[in-house]
């Protein structure tokens, strides 16, 4: 490997008394993809913020290409040659693709030719840049009309055109499907061969091995180590991240045949559920003690199924029966009244109320059902929250503290607790493990299995087939907004992938 391109030494940063980074060294070489790994709260985000000038560190220094740098803002970092592409694309959806790449740096016509922006040059340069990333689209169309994967490519094109020497990708693949991830990786390999240093942050371990040359692992704000990817296998990487060998994966209750599923009327049964522009012809049966997995690519209609079942969207056709009784679900309040519980996909925006205490967050739905004027007795709240925190093993120093201080995994458990507080007979979970570290994922899945054993019916939506197979009794597969079929929980990964891929997945433009 060549000499370090970006070298950070002894970076220390403290947030309100809590050390977030403690003497961390981090080195990126030219022409490598460097995976930055760690659980939630390990200090990855803080390190990236320091590298990109969002935060200035308490101690430590950075050098780019051998000369010392002190980035003071994202803009400054960009000018120095460190660009970042975030999970949520920070571009303007109303501007054209080409404009987004060159905003603020538009090529101008010389005054003899009228001055003003040279749109022709701008568009052709944008087209050239994107073709270099193997993306061939109409660069004059507005950015918002393209899928997130393309928008991300545009963000990368912008970043490398601002003379980037180091490109930081913060969880770029969270909202991409596998084909889009492959395209992204192809682009990254190309950039790597051009001598760019790429920092790659992700929660998907497979992707680390698919693309990275080196891995740096952080834990609790400290550097655990830096390894060439071939020296650190899957198990060793997890061990480095969590600091211990993770618990053995839970045994799927259905997969081993000891499913306590009682025959008879399903808790929830949907027939021919459809909504224009959403999903078509969904048939589901979930019985007591059963975990029904919902698989499918991003945009296949996974989330839409949950929204229909919980009354967030109105179905145009079809029927839903709860405990054998046909019900009308026009809004979530009705769904809750019929004994359904729901944990939405976007924990941050649709679930957690950051400034409320953990207890208040958990009883939120319960209090909403009681109404504004009938405040739940404090003792009652304490009893419920203590019980649920114990049941779900929510680890918090103080349940009266604000929920914002908890890790992602524990916040997610609070969301599950909130749904359980209404004592539902069926729980719908949309991507409950997204953005949560490995140990947290395993724990949440353990909890789900335990809840199902106690008789709860669960609809579990996830992008990760592995997870679904681990816990589901049966798995239903969505494909292009239609239910492709339902498989047994022990059918194996190949069967699920085969069903997902049975028809060609939609190709992005």
């Amino acid at each position: 490997m060549s000499a370090p391109l970006l070298a950070a030494r002894g970076i220390t940063h403290v947030y309100t008394g809590k050390p977030a980074l403690d003497g961390v060294d981090f080195t990126v070489r030219a022409g490598e993809v460097h995976a930055l790994m760690g659980q939630n709260g390990a200090g990855k985000s803080t390190l990236i913020k320091v590298l990109t000038g969002v935060e200035s560190p308490r101690a430590g220094e950075m050098a780019l290409g051998g000369s010392r740098i002190v980035p003071t803002s994202t803009l400054h970092a960009q000018q120095l040659g460190i660009s970042t592409v975030y999970q949520e694309v920070n571009l303007c959806p109303n501007l054209s693709v080409a404009e987004n790449i060159f905003a603020g740096r538009q090529p101008m016509k010389p005054w003899p030719r009228g001055g003003g922006i040279d749109w022709r040059t701008l568009n052709s340069r944008a087209l050239g840049l994107l073709r270099g990333l193997d993306v061939d689209i109409d660069v004059r169309r507005e950015l918002g009309s393209y899928p997130v994967a393309i928008q991300q490519m545009v963000a990368i094109a912008r970043a490398i055109d601002i003379s980037a020497r180091v490109l930081i990708l913060d969880e770029p693949t969270s909202s991409l499907d596998s084909e889009e991830v492959e395209r992204l990786f192809a682009a990254l390999r190309r950039l790597r061969s051009q001598g760019l240093g790429i920092v790659f942050v992700t929660h998907f371990l497979d992707q680390v091995y698919a693309i990275s040359d080196r891995i740096t692992v952080l834990r609790n704000g400290k550097l655990v180590g830096e390894w060439p990817v071939e020296d650190l296998d899957h198990a060793a990487l997890i061990a480095a991240m969590v600091g211990r060998t993770p618990e053995a994966p839970p045994v799927a209750c259905g997969a081993t045949g000891d499913a306590p599923a009682a025959p008879g009327t399903p808790v929830l049964s949907a027939r021919g559920l459809a909504r224009r522009g959403s999903v078509n012809g969904v048939n589901l049966d979930v019985r007591r003690g059963e975990i029904l997995g919902v698989a499918g690519l991003l945009g296949s209609g996974r989330t839409e199924v949950a929204r229909l079942l919980f009354g967030l969207d109105r179905a145009d056709a079809g029927s839903v029966a709860v405990q054998g009784q046909e019900v009308v679900l026009h809004d979530p309040a009705q769904a809750i009244a019929h004994g359904l519980g729901f944990c939405p996909e976007e924990r941050k925006t649709e679930g957690v109320v950051e400034d409320l205490s953990i207890r208040d967050n958990i009883v939120l739905t319960l209090q909403a059902r009681a109404g504004l004027w009938r405040r739940l007795p404090a003792a009652h709240v304490r009893e419920i929250t203590d019980r649920l925190a114990k049941l779900l093993d929510i680890r918090a120093p103080d349940l009266d503290g604000t929920i914002g201080t908890l890790s992602g995994g524990n916040q997610q458990k609070c969301m599950i607790a909130r749904a359980l507080a209404t004592q539902p007979c069926l729980l719908i979970l949309d991507e409950p493990t997204r953005g949560i570290d490995v140990a947290g994922k395993a724990e949440i899945m353990n909890q789900l299995v335990a809840l199902a054993r106690e008789g709860l019916a669960i609809v579990f939506i996830s992008a990760e087939i592995e997870e679904l197979l681990r816990v589901s009794t049966r798995i239903t597969v969505m494909r292009d907004r239609v239910q492709a079929g339902t498989l047994a929980g022990d059918c194996g990964e190949e069967a699920v992938y085969a069903m997902i891929a049975a028809a060609p997945a939609p190709v992005s433009p």
Binding site: N94, L95, S145
Partner: protein
């Protein structure tokens, strides 16, 4: 321009409101032509330009403000203050060569202060410019509570100037100034970094900042531009009315907002065209013309029709946005 046609017929969401506005204008013209014999005479349309010149200039400035996602309620008052200042100072014998640049700079400075407050202290544009509206209108009364006639030769000459456009028809100086303003605004919006930054701010202000665009200075300049437009419109109105009066242009800011919205600019910012605003102003004007041609309708019918159109356009915009949101 094959691609332009494809874009209009195809998916580009940005052009849909503009196309709807243009269709409405053409529909109104056709309706007028079918209903009234004299309607299609060139002077009817030239009068549209003459009688709406100050509204057009104010609406152009407003377009930029709304494109950033803001609003400027102060423009009507700044316009009135400009007519008062123009009348009072020309009465004192000030040369127009000093007066005109001074008033334009004053309007821009007034807008710039509002823009600075909005950006620096993250205040709501609505409340800042509402305050600006009160201040400017109040300053009018400080100068004089009565109307001040203007008899300075420069203003009278400008008022009497007629620019022939052939066939015995002519335009006023105000209409020509409005047209020049439109041309400058089109160039600003589509060919300068400032204009594109305005669009970027309206699209996503946070992203625009992260992309390293000069969001703060652009905001200040947008409100300065709007204030400058209001002052220019004030000069045009001084010429049109040959008087300065505290009660000139009461509620004009709302007409301007209506013209911008009917012109297809989204109040949430980021999407809209200067050209659309021009058509929006013409639609307001032509409704008034139709009411006059009818002869029996009260002039308040203009307001009623504009009100209904505003409702329809806001609903239509929301539907377009919702559909675009679903597509993704």
């Amino acid at each position: 321009m094959n691609t332009a046609a494809v874009r209009i017929l195809g998916l580009d969401r940005r052009l849909v409101p503009l196309a709807a506005t243009l269709a409405l204008f053409i529909g109104l013209v056709v309706y007028g032509a079918v209903s009234y014999d004299a309607f299609l005479s060139p002077q009817v349309f030239l009068n549209l330009a003459i009688d709406n010149s100050f509204l057009c200039i104010v609406a152009i400035g407003m377009t930029f403000v709304i494109l950033t996602g803001g609003i400027d309620l102060s423009v009507g008052s700044v316009l009135a203050l400009t007519t008062m200042a123009a009348a009072a100072l020309s009465k004192l014998g000030w040369s127009p060569w000093i007066l005109v640049p001074l008033l334009l700079a004053g309007g821009s400075a007034f807008g710039a202060i509002q823009g600075f407050l909005i950006h620096r202290y993250r205040l709501q544009p609505f409340i800042v410019t509402l305050a600006g509206m009160f201040v400017a209108r109040g300053l009018c009364y400080l100068i004089d509570t009565a109307s001040i006639p203007i008899s300075a030769p420069f203003f009278v000459a400008m008022a009497e100037a007629r620019i022939p456009v052939g066939g015995g028809n002519s335009l006023s100086s105000g209409a020509v100034i409005a047209m020049i303003t439109v041309a400058v605004a089109l160039w600003l919006a589509h060919s300068t970094r400032f204009g594109r930054t305005v669009y970027a701010i309206g699209g996503n202000a946070k992203s625009a900042t992260l992309m390293g665009l000069p969001v703060g200075s652009a905001l200040v300049r947008v409100y300065a531009f709007s204030g400058g437009c209001a002052a220019l419109a004030g000069l045009v109105m001084s010429v049109y009315m040959l008087s300065g009066y505290s009660l000139h242009a009461v509620g004009l800011e709302l007409d301007a907002i209506a013209a911008v919205v009917i012109g297809g600019t989204l109040l949430t910012g980021g999407i809209g065209y200067v050209a659309g605003t021009v058509v929006g102003v013409l639609i307001l004007g032509i409704i008034q013309t139709l009411v006059i041609f009818n002869g029996t309708l009260s002039s308040w019918w203009t307001r009623i029709v504009i009100g209904i159109l505003l409702f329809l356009f806001c609903v239509a915009q929301r539907l377009i946005e919702a559909r675009a949101g679903q597509k993704r």
